[in-house]
């Protein structure tokens, strides 16, 4: 049999899937042991026990100063920023994506501008952002929105433009006005793509969140990572990174489930 035609069975598949993760843990343990043998106070690759300690300390022991569980406080702070930002980006992307996609005048007006905006590196504009918006949540949320919305707008507008012209004609022969067609034909077919789009932007959104929290905050997952980075406290950084990754994976998965649950037809279509 050619390699391209040989397929692993279910058990084999599971084993293969787990292998790289197991290897990673083994490699880490070995690296850690080697470094700690050299220098017992090495902080770069803490022993698994130190990681557990740190998790325990951050997540399950109340902070002496505030009595709160730091990791939990950081998580809620970051997630609320992220969700606000994604919510706002979604609203913006929907509004602009739909109008740019549907109306040739709006497209002529905004498409080149949005294409240009989407190429501006948002990190470079951070100082202005903070000065214009102050240091509160607004600036952090705006950074994420600026980083994420242009790509979403372009993606949605493309999706709208790609709707078969036949559908629009059909809707017109059914007596639909621009508004009615937007509301009943274009919008509902755009929404599932919006969720997919959101899913694709989760990575960049986390990135900008961390960048924003690095500069100004008093809680948040990114804040903590940058705070303890001064001490090279990898025992805190690793669990935080793993936690962020897990949150991202869960959000990714949840968004896809959500799409299928709300828009069952969008999955039928695929096949």
């Amino acid at each position: 049999m050619r390699w391209i035609n040989t397929k692993p069975g279910p058990a084999m598949r599971l084993m293969l899937m787990l292998a790289p993760f197991v290897l990673l843990v083994i490699a880490y343990s070995m690296g850690s042991a080697a470094r700690l043998a050299d220098n017992p106070s090495d902080k770069l690759l803490p022993a698994l026990a130190s990681l557990t300690d740190a998790i325990n300390r951050m997540a399950f022991t109340p902070d002496v100063r505030t009595g709160e569980y730091l990791m939990w406080v950081d998580t809620t702070a970051s997630l609320s920023r992220l969700l606000w930002a994604l919510g706002i980006s979604t609203a913006i992307a929907l509004l602009f994506g739909m109008t740019v996609g549907m109306f040739p005048y709006v497209r002529a007006l905004l498409a080149p501008f949005i294409a240009t905006i989407s190429m501006v590196p948002p990190l470079a504009l951070l100082p202005i952002l903070f000065i214009v918006l102050g240091l509160g949540e607004a600036a952090k949320i705006t950074l994420i929105v600026i980083g994420v919305a242009p790509a979403m707008i372009r993606d949605l507008a493309l999706k709208v433009i790609e709707l078969p012209r036949e559908q629009i004609i059909k809707a017109e022969t059914l007596g639909g006005s621009s508004w009615q067609i937007a509301l009943r034909v274009v919008l509902p077919q755009t929404l599932p793509r919006l969720l997919t789009c959101l899913r694709l932007q989760l990575g960049p959104a986390w990135l900008f969140l961390i960048a924003a929290e690095a500069i100004s905050a008093d809680s948040g997952l990114g804040y903590r990572i940058f705070l303890v980075r001064r001490y090279l406290s990898m025992d805190v950084i690793f669990p935080y990174v793993a936690w962020i990754t897990l949150l991202a994976i869960i959000m990714n998965f949840a968004l896809d489930r959500l799409r299928i649950a709300i828009f069952p037809w969008s999955n039928l279509e695929r096949q």
């Binding site: 004609i169 059909k170 017109e172 059914l174 509301l183 077919q189 037809w265 096949q271």
Partner: protein
Amino acid sequence: MSTIVLDNVWKEYGDQIVLEKVSLTIASRAFVALVGPSGCGKTTFLKMLLGEEAPTRGTITLDGIPLMAEPGPDRGVVFQRYSVFPHLTVLGNVLLGKAFTGSKIAARLFGASKRSAVEEARQLIADVGLAGSEDKYPAQLSGGMQQRLALAQALIMKPKVLLLDEPFGALDPGIRAEIHVLMKRLWHETELTVVMVTHDMREAFTLGTRVIAFERPRDRPEERERYGALLSRDIDIWPPRIAGEPSIFAPDRDDPVMPLGLAQDDLAPTQGDNP
């Protein structure tokens, strides 16, 4: 009444001439079948009747009034694909036109108007043979069922003119035969002038009251810019079919001569033939 008159219509895309000097009068309640080789401009012709494209020269009138420059509810349409909305159920697809005309802002019906519209839609769905599938999405229907749905969806608007662009081109022969019967019934029962593009000669002669062919007499590349397709043949079916009246003979031309014993359009087993 819904007579369509085309007077010396030309259509050009940039340098390329697609259709040349088409003059034609389509009588009310006619069923015009439009044939011609691929790329000769059949779809373009239909788009002009729709108002989706404007003629480069010449005029098109419907009952003496120049056509609206946009598709509107007086002209229904069914395409080969993408005629139904994938995000709406069968019922939702048929209701959509009612919702558009009945509710300017929300484009949704409520209360009594909704109930009466649903009733009308259900009747139409049953008419096209989709009773029982009201809550399915198009992706859950076969190709033939989707085209029936597209018909029902167009017919609920009671259009004067129904435009069909190879509506059954992608269907199985067996399914096509069934939908021909439906199409004929709808044409007889509804006040409709129909223009249908097809690739299938038999379909054209089975359904049409008149068969029109477009053709591009000069089709070498260097000629394409100077000459378009012409209306090359125009055949009235004999004996004439008249909407609403039974055919004088050959009541069903859907079963043509067959070289061998199998039903040509349909492999449904003969009764008692099961193993």
